[in-house]
């Protein structure tokens, strides 16, 4: 079973088209194994990305170097997955 310990979901806000382009560049970096929950399209539409723990530093550095604003939407995805599973078990019992 896939675990998401330490995976974070970042909400990224782009200020202009150039930053949208940068985000598209980030989307093509397969080695980071990013999961775009919402893909980059317009500056006014934020992007949500699930970032594995091992890629967190690289992604945050990329965003900061390009002056792209972000905040952490989900701090530890596995916690939410565990909570969800526990809730299902509770409801069944």
């Amino acid at each position: 079973t896939e675990v998401f310990v330490g995976h974070q979901v970042l909400r990224i806000s782009m200020a202009n088209e150039a930053q949208v382009e940068k985000m598209r560049e980030l989307e093509t970096m397969d080695h980071l194994q990013l999961d775009f929950w919402a893909s980059p399209s317009h500056p006014e539409r934020p992007v949500d990305v699930r970032v594995p723990f091992t890629s967190l530093q690289a992604v945050k550095v990329f965003l900061e170097q390009n002056n792209i604003q972000y905040f952490i939407l989900i701090k530890d995805l596995q916690r939410l997955v565990d909570d969800e599973k526990a809730q299902m078990v509770r409801q069944r019992s």
Binding site: T1, E2, F4, V9, R11, D30, D35, F36, W37, A38, S39, P40, S41, H42, R45, P46, D48, R50, L73, I74, L77, L80, V81, D83, E84, Q87, M88, Q91
Partner: protein, 310 residues
């Protein structure tokens, strides 16, 4: 196992078996209103079950609703379950829904991507695609919302089997898609097609693969305005609406672009709650409010389809 449709817990997420059992319960309890149709099998051999709500009459004009084509979007399957219960509860009580069902059939596919859905419960909660094997690649699955024959393979879809938006080797390569395509063609009288996704609170109409507006844009936009107004009236949830390409991004090979091109004028797709706090991990206590508000918008679309035959 729930003993009846009444005691089924609508406020929690369920497994595939639980939902399939629920569908059987529904049919057993209301056989004069609901039946179950098997429209095909998934890649891994699971049945593709569709609930048919009908008060009789051959090949009536129909409304299609599907939920969960992207398997990780759990709130959509959960709302599909709630819709099924809502339809049987309201028929005969709610004047408007009764009038819809006296004139039209409703088809509801709650688990559109069963392989993916099972996979999200057992192996990877974040799985989005189908589970088909891609020749020459170790990556599995195709994005079933890029696999339709409408601008297939164009911008806004990927040729890389490892991508979440991989369009597949050819249009309708996924049995989950092909089954709906065959069903829609064979039926020939579907007048409204609503495909439900999550999240980001949008109500969208075609097109996604081209910037060319659909000929019915004005009408679809006015329906969307009314639907979103109705939806927001319940809990104040704010929705945006418009064509896929102008409202979110270019997406080729999408479901409702194909259905619209097949002549189904009232083709819409929803992106349900939330606006980004939990994404695909929407807590179960939000299932019922999400379903309730979405139902209001659905009713607007279904009423319009009922009152504007074409």
């Amino acid at each position: 196992r729930a003993l009846s449709v009444e005691t089924f817990n609508y406020a929690t997420y369920h497994t595939l078996n639980e939902i399939y059992d629920f569908m059987d319960l529904l049919v057993a309890e209301r056989p004069n209103l609901v039946s179950k149709i098997e429209i095909g099998y998934s890649t891994e051999g699971l049945p593709l079950n569709v609930l048919k709500f009908s008060t009789g009459g051959p090949n009536r004009p129909a409304i299609w609703i599907d939920t969960g084509i992207h398997s990780r979007e759990w709130v959509t399957q959960a709302t599909g379950v709630w819709f099924a219960k809502k339809i049987i509860s309201d028929y005969g009580k709610d004047e408007s829904l009764t009038a819809i069902l006296d004139k039209m059939d409703i088809f509801l596919e709650i688990i559109t991507n069963p392989d993916g859905f099972v996979f999200t419960h057992t192996q990877n909660r974040m799985w989005r695609k189908t589970r088909s094997i891609n020749a020459g690649s170790s990556c599995r699955g195709v994005d079933p919302n890029r696999n339709w024959d409408a601008g297939f393979g164009g911008l806004g879809s990927s040729r890389n089997p490892c991508s979440e938006t991989y369009h597949g080797p050819h249009a309708n390569s996924e049995p989950e898609v092909k089954a709906i395509v065959d069903f829609v063609k064979q039926h020939g009288n579907i007048k409204a097609f609503i495909s439900i996704h999550s999240y980001s609170q949008l109500l969208l109409y075609p097109y996604g693969y081209t910037k060319t507006p659909v000929p019915d844009q004005k009408e679809l936009d006015s329906i969307a305005t009314a639907a979103v107004t109705a939806l927001s009236s319940l809990y104040g949830t704010s929705y945006r609406y418009g064509s896929i390409i102008t409202t979110i991004y270019q997406a080729s090979g999408g479901t409702i672009d194909w259905t619209y091109n097949q002549g189904i004028k009232y083709s819409f797709t929803f992106e349900l709650r939330d606006a980004g706090r939990y994404g695909f991990m929407l807590p179960a206590n939000q299932i019922i409010p999400t379903a309730q508000e979405t139902w209001k918008a659905l009713m607007v679309i279904m009423e319009h389809a009922r009152d504007h035959p074409y």
